[in-house]
């Protein structure tokens, strides 16, 4: 069947649409939670659920339809001011939205639908409606008969009739003006009748007034149709379905092969004529008019962010991956080309060199554009986190509000996907460990509601994502005590605040005195840090007692390309991320100071910065006799800590394509990835901040290894 494929495609597209709708739903609910929502917000929320229901119905996803319908019913009540959505109701709406998103996911993956939870939520939703709820439940059953056109005119027996012989029907049909006003056309109706069987149509024109008295859509004409066909009266009524109530209609039948049951059906006709008043005058127009008249009048800021109908193409991710890889190859190729042209001794003003420059510029543009394709706003990720906050604040009985900033910050899609787990864990930590209990907060004179803040921003070519709480801050004495007890540090170690905070990242560290069932799942912050590092990112902590803790993640914008500085160290070629290099300098007698054996500092504009020999830190060589006249790179990481690295030579600045190191490689500290240079040589990409961190901790407290090495 050729329809199978497009259907599968539409189904897939439906689920993508669901994601968007669920996002709109979340947004709307959040707005409602903030300012109890204007009408358009409620409309958006309603429509989101409504559209999910509509699509789900088309694919026979009954559980989804059923839940969405009852959810929608309650939202409709809010929309039509039958009920007011207070804080508790909105919390329930959030839960229902979460459940709806579960249902969507499970329906998509043909998974197991969490019925019990759904029923619990539905019961609560129905309870919101009070008495109205019961009525609505019944409607559910009727509403989703797939055959919407079925007529219910009280002619139940007809279907059961054995096919009778051809019958002759006489139909009197007098359109009313409304019939014309609604775009119905008697000609079409007569033609449809003719399709049922041979017709004899007579038009009554006696009511047509003089031309000067005519109104354009006056119902002046009437028709009498004699139809002879082997059909039931139902078939005729079906023809008049859309104009029922808009015309005077009588149908008489004379069975040529008499059937006793047809005639008794005739008296059922009066209801047809009784119906018009009920249909034309809307008795209960409560929900819609209110919604409709107010809709254009309230263009609220939030409503304006609704999809501004952008033209979008959906592309298979594989194709983009391929494009990204090809562009990567292009960059390498271009680097090789420039290298060979330069070595060929061409004049820099020659056509070739000019062309090469243009080529470089274009390559960079292509690269940027390709990266843009993969970039996505972090919003979807943040929304998932708001759900985590809701669920886990409920589990530990804390009142927590999630504040997000920078939802529109764009990050590589892969990065977003791979951030989900670490971020979930960090959010859980913030709620579970970061924030105090409600009693403690009250005692500390803080608002009872704790705040977890999630922000994203672009900063100097990287993305900074921060998770902060307004809790009690890290309890450093306790952290140190636990670390000592677990043998992670020496019992008498003298640690700075930053060093203590970083103990949280040590494997197997957990501060909660009793492991709660929430964040204590055997996953520590070390796992989070590893996940972030594998994305080429770094994580840092800042905490101040009494006011809270902030975890800051710094990530590269893309995983594919890096602006690097190519340097030589101990005969090796290495690449340093350029954005970390602040300046370069040369060591002389005036700026070099030794603080203790093996520990040098360099003076840069009146400040002292620790000096490290990159060759030594990486284990390529032992410390040199003298560092005079060495080239030094001054680098700084996101946290602002600086260091000076000694290298042998700076070769070049260029873009390099990051080639990740396979899991099977030993994960060497200080090494982030590798790349292929223009001449085909492989070079390691350094993670200087990691090197600094390693070197500093080595040099200060933890191990004497470095001391041995340097001496």
């Amino acid at each position: 069947m050729p329809e199978l494929d497009p259907m599968a495609e539409i189904r897939a597209s439906f689920f993508i649409e669901c994601e968007e709708l669920l996002e709109a739903l979340q947004d709307g609910l959040e707005t409602m939670a903030e300012d109890s929502g204007d009408l358009e917000t409620i409309n958006v929320v309603f429509r989101a659920v409504h559209s999910i229901k509509g699509g789900a119905g088309a694919f026979g996803l009954e559980a989804l339809v059923r839940f969405a319908h009852r959810y929608e019913t309650v939202l409709d009540a809010v929309r039509s001011h039958v009920m007011v959505a207070d804080g508790d109701a909105i919390k329930l709406f959030f839960r229902a939205a979460d459940h709806l998103s579960d249902l969507v996911r499970e329906s998509r993956d043909n998974g197991v639908l969490p019925e019990a939870e759904g029923n619990a939520i539905l019961t609560q939703l129905d309870a919101l409606l009070g008495d109205n709820g019961v009525e609505e439940v019944e409607e559910t059953e009727i509403d989703f008969q797939p055959m919407g056109l079925a007529l219910d005119l009280g002619l139940p027996d007809l279907d059961a009739l054995p096919p009778a012989g051809p019958a002759e029907f006489t139909i009197h049909f007098t359109p009313q003006p409304e019939l014309y006003e609604t775009g119905n056309e008697p000609f079409m109706i007569l033609r449809n009748l003719a399709e049922l069987g041979p017709c004899e149509v007579t038009c009554t024109t006696e009511n047509v007034p003089l031309l000067r008295d005519c109104v354009s859509n006056g119902g002046y004409l009437a028709w009498t149709v004699k139809l002879c066909a082997d059909i039931s009266q139902d078939d005729i009524i079906a023809v008049f379905d859309f104009v029922e109530g808009l015309c005077d209609l009588t149908i008489e039948s004379m069975q040529s092969a008499p059937s006793s049951k047809v005639s008794p059906a005739l008296p059922d006709l009066p209801p047809l004529q009784d119906e018009p008043p009920r249909q034309i005058v809307p008795e209960a127009p409560a929900p819609m008019p209110a919604a409709r008249s107010d809709t254009p009048a309230t263009p609220k800021a939030k409503a304006a962010t609704q999809p501004a109908a952008k033209a979008v193409v959906r592309v298979d991710l594989d194709r983009i991956e391929r494009l990204v890889n090809l562009v990567g190859e292009l960059v390498i190729n271009q680097a090789m080309l420039s290298q060979s042209l330069e070595s060929s001794g061409l004049s820099p003003h020659s056509d070739s060199m000019n062309g090469l420059e243009e080529f470089q510029r274009l390559t960079r543009d292509i690269q940027d554009s390709v990266m843009m394709i993969r970039a996505q706003p972090v919003k979807s990720l943040f929304q998932r986190m708001s759900r985590i906050v809701r669920e886990c604040s409920a589990a530990v009985r804390k009142d927590v509000r999630l504040v997000t900033e920078g939802d529109t910050t764009e990050v590589d899609k892969t990065v977003i996907e791979r951030l989900s787990d670490p971020l979930t864990h960090m959010i859980r930590n913030a709620v579970d460990h970061g924030l105090e209990t409600t009693e403690d907060r009250r005692a500390a004179g803080k608002p009872e509601q704790g705040v977890v803040k999630l922000t994203a921003a672009h900063r100097s070519g990287r993305v900074i994502i921060e998770v902060s709480d307004d809790g009690g801050g890290i309890n450093r004495p306790k952290v140190q005590q636990i670390a000592a007890k677990k043998g992670l540090i020496a019992a008498d170690a003298n640690l700075s605040d930053v060093e203590i905070d970083n103990l949280l990242f040590l494997p197997g560290f957990s501060t909660a005195t009793e492991v709660s069932n929430l964040s204590g799942r055997g996953v520590g912050m070390d796992v989070v840090r590893n996940a972030i590092q594998s994305l080429g990112g770094r994580i840092t902590i800042t905490s101040s007692p009494g006011t809270g803790t902030t975890f800051s993640i710094s990530l590269p914008l893309t995983l594919a390309v890096l602006d690097g500085m190519v340097v030589h160290v101990a005969g090796e070629t290495m690449v340093l991320p350029l954005n970390l290099v602040i300046e370069t300098l040369t060591i002389d007698h005036d700026n070099l100071e030794q603080t203790r054996p093996g520990m040098n500092v360099v003076r840069v504009r009146g400040e002292f910065v620790s000096l490290f020999d990159l060759g030594v830190e990486l284990g390529y060589r032992s410390a040199q006799e003298s560092y005079l006249d060495s080239v030094v790179l001054l680098i700084a990481d996101e946290a602002g800590s600086r260091a000076a690295l000694i290298v042998d030579e700076i070769q070049d600045q260029r873009q390099v394509v990051i080639k990740g190191l396979d899991e099977s490689f030993y994960r060497a500290p200080g090494i982030a990835a590798a790349t292929i240079l223009g001449d085909g040589q492989i070079a390691l990409i350094l993670d200087p901040a990691d090197i600094i961190a390693q070197a500093q901790s080595n040099a200060s407290v933890l191990s004497p290894k470095l001391m041995e090495m340097t001496q």
Binding site: G57, I142, N184, N192
Partner: protein
């Protein structure tokens, strides 16, 4: 005879479904994303019939029907309302706004085609 149809629905899934139902049957389908978009699109075409959803952002189905009927050349263009809501009041409201007929979602492609043929030939 090829009929040209304008389908107005804010759900991409529904627009795709309508397209899938009608195009193999020889209909020409133009789509619009909401009422306002529908009115814009209508400026450039003369469809034999219009299908519209009710619940849509910016301008809902009722507003859209009003706007269409307000144009002299579309006073008699058949408009079918596509709705998940089978409530009689809604049908009455649609009809009051000037809708020719209605189809209840989820629709059966054959029924949709038949309904279109009934009103538009």
């Amino acid at each position: 005879m090829t009929l040209s149809i304008l389908a107005v629905d804010d759900s991409r899934t529904m627009r795709d479904m309508i397209r899938l139902a009608l195009e193999p049957a020889g209909f020409t389908v133009t789509t619009a994303d909401d009422g306002i978009h529908g009115v814009e699109v209508l400026n450039g075409i003369a469809p034999d019939a219009i299908i519209t959803d009710i619940n849509m952002p910016r301008m809902d189905g009722f507003g859209f029907i009003d706007a269409v009927r307000g144009q002299v050349k579309h006073r008699a263009t058949p408009i079918l309302v596509l709705t998940t809501e089978a409530a009689p009041e809604l049908k009455a409201r649609a009809r009051n706004a000037g809708a020719t007929g209605w189809i209840v979602k989820p629709f059966d492609p054959a029924k949709l085609i038949k309904a279109l043929q009934m009103v538009a030939g």
